[in-house]
């Protein structure tokens, strides 16, 4: 049985720069299986974030194809792409990006509001997500009252609350100290193992690499290495 959740076929992405084009990704061919804990690794400008954006249906390929959870990204309408993100893909950002005027509970709840779940269903799901990240006591706090590590854990809960098949994390540890980095990586690894959620990272943080099952190295928009690793077992 085909276990692929992402299939990248001869993908090229170009951006217009003046009268010419800058090629950010070039002929990428990759597949990702369900339940992977994979990192895209490379220096700045190597194309990690561009690839994540396309996989996350926020951008489209210039050439080639990206099939995510059975859907070809370039063929999706705006609404279909939004629905794919809302139902099946969670995002974790480097700068946490919590909405400052809302409480932790409300930040996590927002994704479920878009799914038109009842208040009871939303509350149950949010509290469960907060339990996963160990922040049930912070439900009523505002993002400004949280530490960096706590904020990122809330961001994980927000990404996980809708039980997505895939979580995309762009440099999730870049703004965290070592202790917090390990804490959130352990949390993500545990969610990956318990809920069978696939995680796809863009990172150049050595700490992240210890947890990866697979490391894909990008350089100048090309895949230069694709290694299966022996990751830390929790």
């Amino acid at each position: 049985m085909n276990n692929n959740i992402i299939e990248i076929k001869q993908l090229t992405k170009q951006f217009p720069v003046g009268s010419s084009f800058f090629t950010a990704l070039r002929d990428i061919i990759l597949t990702f299986d369900k339940g992977e804990f994979t990192g895209l690794v490379g220096p700045s400008g190597s194309g990690k974030t561009t690839l994540l954006n396309i996989i996350g249906s926020l951008d489209t390929p210039s050439k080639g194809e990206a099939i995510v959870l059975g859907k070809s990204i370039s063929k999706l309408t705006h609404k279909e792409a939004a629905q794919l993100r809302n139902r099946h893909i969670g995002f974790i950002f480097q700068t946490f990006n919590l909405l400052p005027v809302y409480t932790v509970f409300e930040n996590i709840e927002f994704a479920l509001l878009l799914q038109h779940l009842s208040a009871g269903q939303r509350k149950k799901a949010v509290m469960e997500a907060l339990e996963w990240v160990g922040l049930t006591d912070k439900a009523k706090s505002k993002p400004a009252q949280l530490s960096g590590g706590e904020s990122q854990r809330v961001a994980i809960a927000r990404a996980m609350v809708k039980r997505p098949e895939l979580v995309i994390a762009d440099e999730p540890t870049a703004n965290l100290d070592s202790e917090n980095s390990h804490h959130i990586l352990k949390t993500m690894k545990q969610l990956n193992r318990d809920l069978k959620v696939s995680f796809l990272f863009a990172t150049h943080d050595e700490k992240v690499m210890q947890y990866l099952d697979r490391k894909i190295i990008l350089k100048d928009g090309k895949v230069v290495e694709d290694n299966v690793l022996e990751a830390i077992n929790l």
Partner: protein
């Protein structure tokens, strides 16, 4: 989702404070200025109606052509039958006779020799009938500066400016020289019972008001009147009712080939009051339009600034699976909520200020000393039912339009570009 948006508006002061202040100020000004302008125009129209035009005026066709000259030789005859006929045929209005006249006012000294003289505009109104509302219609009681209203035949009131100029006091005698309706000389001496100031230069410059019966005696106008004025019993001028009376009267009693036949005119047809009526009626719409336009520009700009500041939020919401159309829609919902909050605040303050101006008004009489139009001395606002809801038009339209214009930029932006502006 509405609850989520509402929480955002309430908690994020920078998102709501400025727009709410702008909307509140705009709505406040719309309500206040609409009420005030409506009040001014209504007062002006009422003043003209009470002093000069009535809601419907009946005069002869010939008199109508030369009305500015007050040609009493062309006055209505047989008013003793005309007025009861009008009362019977058109009971929705109250019908009153008036005599206008021009003449010379002579102030004698103690020997009966002329001490001072000046031109005067005269008005004969019904002071003596117990059911007459003429004195209150012309607001004479409240305009009295000295003395009292005429209580018996042979008494007159004159304007206070006139009295001061000629050093006349209540109890003094004045003689009016004029011409009868047949063209012969007329004069009659009156005792000044009081002096009045209406606050309108046109009226206060030099006027004498006498009883209708005295005017008839003096001007040989038995069963005659310069004009018969009709006042709708609702107290307010109404075009439809006035037109119905005019059309019905003219069809039945007016003969275009007979210059002495009576003709009915509505207030709208006289003294360019039609334009003022239109302005009074449209004032709310004019004010609304002005403030919708001005506030939309301000709110568009504040919406753009807020939009720029909120790119991060929009990027996060896109990532969480909200589509751009939905984000745009929530911006409109926000605008509606802000518009409603701002409109309620602005309407309450606007109505309070309008009420204050309705009761107190602003006295512009010193600025209109040389104005020859019939203007009220104190400009008062008027609270009308529409003031309770009129603010919702500029309040809601401007916020929605402002946010819609501001949000359009976000809507047009590519998802990936918006997302990159998250600076992730």
């Amino acid at each position: 989702m509405i609850q989520f948006i509402f929480k955002g508006i309430i908690r994020d002061r920078s998102r709501s404070t400025l727009p709410i202040i702008v909307v509140s100020i705009g709505v406040f000004l719309t309500v206040l200025l609409s009420g005030w302008m409506k009040g001014i125009f209504t007062d002006m129209i009422d003043m003209n109606a009470n002093f000069s035009t009535g809601h419907v005026k009946i005069i002869t066709r010939a008199y109508a052509e030369n009305e500015s000259q007050i040609p009493n030789d062309l006055a209505l005859l047989g008013t003793d039958t005309l007025v009861p006929l009008l009362q019977k045929q058109f009971p929705q209005a109250e019908w009153v006779e008036r005599i206008q006249f021009g003449g010379l006012l002579d102030v004698p000294d103690k020997n009966g020799e002329t001490r001072a003289q000046g031109p005067a505009f005269g008005k004969g109104i019904d002071f003596s009938s117990p059911e007459s509302k003429e004195a209150s219609r012309l607001n004479i009681q409240h305009s009295l500066v000295q003395g009292t209203l005429p209580t018996k035949r042979g008494e007159a009131i004159i304007t206070d400016d006139f009295a001061k100029r000629f050093n006349v006091k209540p109890g003094d005698k004045v003689t009016v020289f004029g011409s009868t309706m047949d063209g012969s000389m007329a004069f009659k001496t009156f005792i000044v019972s009081g002096t009045v100031r209406f606050g309108s230069t046109l009226l206060d410059r030099g006027a004498i008001i006498i009883d209708l019966a005295d005017a008839r005696d003096m001007l040989d106008m038995d069963n005659a009147a310069s004009e018969v004025l009709g006042y709708l019993k609702t107290g307010q001028y109404n075009d439809e009712e006035a037109n119905a009376i005019r059309d019905s009267f003219n069809t039945k009693y007016s003969n275009p080939s007979d210059e002495f036949s009576p003709v009915a005119q509505t207030l709208r047809q006289q003294n360019s009051l039609g334009q003022y009526l239109d302005m009074a009626e449209n004032m709310s719409a004019i004010m609304t339009f002005i403030f919708v336009f001005a506030m939309s520009i301000v709110l568009w700009n504040s919406g753009l600034l807020a939009g720029l500041r909120r790119y991060t939020e929009y990027g996060i919401r896109l990532a969480l699976g909200e589509n751009k159309g939905h984000i745009y829609k929530t911006m409109i919902y926000e605008a509606i909520l802000i518009g409603i909050i701002g409109t309620i605040i602005g309407s309450i303050i606007g109505l309070a200020a309008t009420y204050y101006l309705q009761e107190v008004g602003l006295d512009f009489s010193s600025m209109t000393k040389n104005v020859t139009m019939m203007l009220p001395p104190v400009y008062k606002a008027k609270i009308t039912p529409e003031l309770f809801y009129i603010g919702f038009f500029p309040g809601l339209i401007a916020t929605v339009l402002g946010n819609a214009l501001a949000g359009f930029a976000i809507y047009k932006r590519k998802t990936a570009r918006l997302f990159r502006e998250l600076e992730v």
